[in-house]
Amino acid sequence: MNSLPARYNRSIDWVTVLLYLLMVGVGWLNVYAASYSPDTPANPLSSLSFGQLMSYDWFKQIIWIGTALLLVVMVLVVDPKAYDTLAYGLYGLMIVLLIITPFIARPIAGSRSWLELGPVRLQPAEFAKFITALAASRYLASINLRQQSFRDQLVLAGLTLLPPVLIIAANETGQALVFAAFLLAYFREGMSPIILLILAAGAVILILALLVPKLWLLAGFTVLLVIALAANWRTLRHYIPLSLGVWAVVVGMVFGVDFFFNNVLQDHQRKRIEILINPSADPLGVGWNVTQSKIAIGSGGLAGKGFLQGTQTKFDFVPAQSTDFIFCTVGEEWGWLGSIVTIGLFMGLLGRIGYVAERQKSVFGRTYGYCVASIIFFHFCINIGMTIGLAPVVGIPLPFFSYGGSSLWSFTTLLFILLAIDAARKQDLERY
């Protein structure tokens, strides 16, 4: 067996590693800016005690980054085949952990989802993402994709849905929503696009149902359907039963949305969606986060206020400024150009992961690669979307940027398992 550097020197995908390091570095700069205080001494590392330093997010983030790099080494040391082999075992362990967590965790910010190990707090839900990705990839690789049986699909759905259900039970809805990202990966692996379309249509109908009175919506839809049928009567008349079926489904969805919105969603969740539709309602209450976040980003202008010059983030107008709302610091201090660079970094990383995934020979590797891209993409979408008022406020971090050990560790592991699998592919080639 080669030594670790020798093993990976030529075979690891350096582009991804470079993008990862860039994002973590830029992320740390923004965490530093967000948790910077003018009272901090000029040279904090030499003039403050360890205990004092530990009260700064930026200092703790250094520790998280350091440990994340250790984690990288650990991930790479393991024989990549183990990820395939151990996937189900890890999945089982994780399920057990998710089940017991609410019973042994102390409530923090309204949810019992954090495990405390001395000074370190970990959220099992974070790690559920890559473990589920591994298990799902293993399962997809093990079945005959061409002849997917209904049973296979059911197993896959259950495999994917079990962790989020447990996470919702622990009242961490945001983390649970992330599992929707798997649909994108499954789509690449052959899932019927109709499922994606139905979900997209459902989202559109949900938004329309909240914006437009129900009857207007139904009337509009019915009229459109009738016009479409009438215009192409000859070709479409055979589809009348199908059209009626679609019509019935849409009616059901419109009322279902209403029921879902008013009876299933919790109060604060309903308000977050209402704020998305009408941002100026209740600017000091539920709308505060979004309003202040938009003010912070919007005040950045083209080139930003400059490093450490942001006023909105610095003076606590934006809540959770170093964690979920870290993008506000990017937008305020680096302006539109900085935001574009950040979005560009994400696009670069997602593109590269897609490229890496596509070059995998095994279904397991490719599926896992797409899971990684989809999970990062979902976080990117929702997190930045909520800071600029395009998505409801969901408490999920921006990968590699947000402060926090759990999320950095989980994304690092997620990404580097893929790189390890990818490197093994090349090693296999070299061997033969």
């Binding site: 919007g298 202008g301 083209l302 909105q312 979005i343 696009m347 593109g351 596509e358």
Partner: protein, 614 residues
């Protein structure tokens, strides 16, 4: 799995679409829409305004009239008030319990979290009495500021007063920089020269965090400015002369305006009844203001600027000048004192020239003078002839600064009225009036309205033989001169020789044997006064008395108009009052034999009237 290979492009397209939407949205809120930047500044920037030191006001002789003294406002933040013992608190403030309760209610109405004044204008002693005990009353604090204090009890109308800005004014663009509750000049010179007196505010920008706690200067104080004190005003008013004139006007309604004809500077400006300028400053100012406002004598009414009266016989001088300039009469033109035209004031010698006519104030003479000006046969239609003639007459009259605002450095000046042909067209109908309709104008009666200041300016013009500077109160701003518009000489379009022709007549009014203004004679101290009496018919009661004059006749240093409402014949009250003011100004003292005037003149107007026995 080749058939699924294409799906990677769908996934990539979804990624790119989201990135594109984000980039566009970010471009919109960061670059295009500037409202977020404003909102950010509103969030974090606290402007701390340092009010500047308001300029002082000095009189003609350098005596300080208006200055600043510190006063204190008791402020209250309703939310922080805890378990207030209103009874003990009202005892401490020495205010009725009801007033304290009402004040607190008002404050709560304004804002629960912002400080609003509960008691304003406490002086240092009043503050000392309560300050130590304030610690027992959370939510109350003391705010110091500067208020006006007065070194004089006179010229309240000229000085004006300072008060907190009204919500209505705040909406006007020129007051955009004012904060609610800030003080500014409301009337008089305080208002007209607000910009100069105000100075420049100092502004400090402080950054605050979400809890309003200061986080230091914004950009290291780069945008902070220091306040710049306002400029001092040096008035042309002589507080000694002013005080003297006010004393003489006591108990009456009317006005006295004295000008330095050579410069247009206003020496004295009396609006009777007077009030003490201190009434409109300090604690209880609001109540005193309401008292003044509801006083039936209307002390707040600025009569020299705002009260327009028919000028009476003093206006005959203007008519004569217009006729002389038009060339329709000469100084030696005789007109008979024909009672059929208009009733004359009294039987007198034959007005064989303008001198005698002025001395006797002969109504029929000036009836005929103005008729000569108006009816000149410009049209064969006698109605049209009168129309054209009156129009030309009006143009010349208005050159004297009548019927228009003079442009004195004080607001609310009235234009007065010099009726136009259109005025009579409207009232009587087109071509339905002739000179017979408007002849009252020839003796300064009827539809004409002139303010005291305008008449004083006419006197200054006559004194100068044909020119004037716009009357003004302020001869110096800071270390500079008056405003530029008061350094422009205006001519009235009448040749100097014509003025010379009427001055002898005006001198004989005062010093001639049997002149109507003999009471104004200062010949005994070697001062020749040129003047003209007036008695203005008043449909509401007794005639108004007026006297307009300048002195010395050949080297005028003062032009004066005295107007006393309901005092009858101008020669008996207005003339001697004017003489005393002239003597005071020119000699600085009053001849001993005229001290009896000084004792007799102050007091109500009705005792100047000799009631006719029917």
């Amino acid at each position: 799995m080749q058939y699924l290979e294409g799906r990677k492009y769908v996934v990539q397209a979804i990624f790119l679409a989201v990135a594109l939407v984000f980039a566009t949205r970010l471009f919109y809120i960061q670059v295009l829409d500037s409202s977020y930047k404003l909102a950010a500044d509103r969030n974090t920037l606290q402007r701390i305004v340092q009010p500047p030191y308001r300029g002082l006001i000095y009189d003609r002789k350098g005596q300080i009239l208006v200055q600043n003294t510190p006063v204190y406002d008791l402020m209250v933040v309703p939310r922080e008030v805890k378990q207030l013992d209103t009874l003990r608190f009202s005892q401490l403030l020495q205010l009725p319990l009801e007033e304290v309760r009402e004040g607190l209610q008002q404050a709560r109405k304004f804002s629960r979290v912002k400080a609003s004044p509960l008691v304003q204008n406490l002086n240092t002693q009043e503050l000392a009495a309560i300050q130590d005990n304030l610690i027992d009353f959370p939510g109350f604090s003391v705010k110091a500021r500067m208020a006006r204090s007065y070194n004089t009890h006179t010229m309240a109308h000229a000085l004006g007063y300072v008060g907190s800005i009204t919500p209505k004014l705040l909406e006007r663009p020129q007051y955009a920089k004012y904060q609610p509750g800030e003080f500014l000049g409301i009337t008089g010179l305080e208002s007209f020269y607000e910009k100069q007196l105000m100075g420049r505010r100092g502004v400090q920008y402080r950054m605050v965090n979400v809890r309003g706690i200061e986080k230091g200067a914004f950009r290291g104080g780069e945008y902070d400015t220091l306040s710049v004190a306002g400029q001092d005003l040096h008035l042309s008013l002589d507080s000694e002369l002013q005080g003297y004139a006010e004393k003489l006007m006591a108990g009456k309604r009317g006005s006295v305006v004295a000008l330095d004809p050579k410069t247009g500077e206003i020496l004295a400006f009396v609006s009777a009844p007077m009030f003490d300028p201190e009434m409109l400053s300090g604690k209880g100012m609001g109540n005193r203001y309401m008292e003044l406002l509801n006083n039936p004598e209307q002390p707040l009414f600025n009569r020299p600027l705002m009260a327009t009266y028919p000028p009476g016989s003093t206006f005959k001088l203007v008519n004569e000048l217009v006729a002389l300039q038009a060339g329709v009469v000469t100084p030696n033109t005789p007109f008979a004192c024909n009672f059929k035209l208009v009733r004359c004031t009294h039987r007198h010698e034959y007005p064989s020239n303008v001198g005698i006519a002025i001395k006797q104030s002969c109504n029929p003479y000036f009836y005929q003078v103005m008729r000569a000006t108006v009816l000149r046969g410009r049209s064969s239609n006698r109605f049209e002839d009168a129309r054209l003639g009156l129009g030309e007459w009006r143009r010349q009259v208005m050159k004297f600064g009548l019927g228009e605002k003079l442009g004195v450095d004080m607001g609310n000046e009235k234009r007065g009225l010099v009726p136009s042909p259109e005025f009579y067209d409207k009232r009587n109908g087109y071509h339905r009036w002739t000179y017979r309709t408007v002849y009252s104008l020839s003796i300064g009666q009827g539809e004409i309205g002139i303010t005291g200041l305008q008449m004083a300016n006419v006197m200054a013009t006559i004194a100068n033989r044909g020119w004037y500077y716009t009357p003004h109160f302020v001869r110096g701003i800071g270390s500079g001169g008056p405003l530029p518009e008061y350094q422009v000489k205006h001519t009235v379009g009448v040749d100097a020789q014509h003025f010379e022709a009427i001055v002898p007549g005006m001198m004989s009014v005062v010093d001639g044997n049997g002149g109507t203004g003999n009471n104004a004679s200062l010949a005994d101290v070697g001062i020749s006064v040129a003047g003209k009496t007036g008695t203005v018919q008043n449909p509401h009661g007794d005639d108004h008395a007026t006297f307009a004059a300048f002195a010395p006749a050949q080297d005028p240093q003062i032009a004066i108009v005295v107007f006393i409402e309901n005092a009858g014949f101008g020669g008996s009250s207005a003339a001697p009052l004017a003489a005393l003011v002239i003597e005071k100004h020119l000699r600085g003292k009053i001849a001993p034999w005229r001290h009896r005037w000084e004792e007799w003149l102050p007091g109500p107007a009705d005792r100047f009237i000799k009631r006719r026995k029917y």
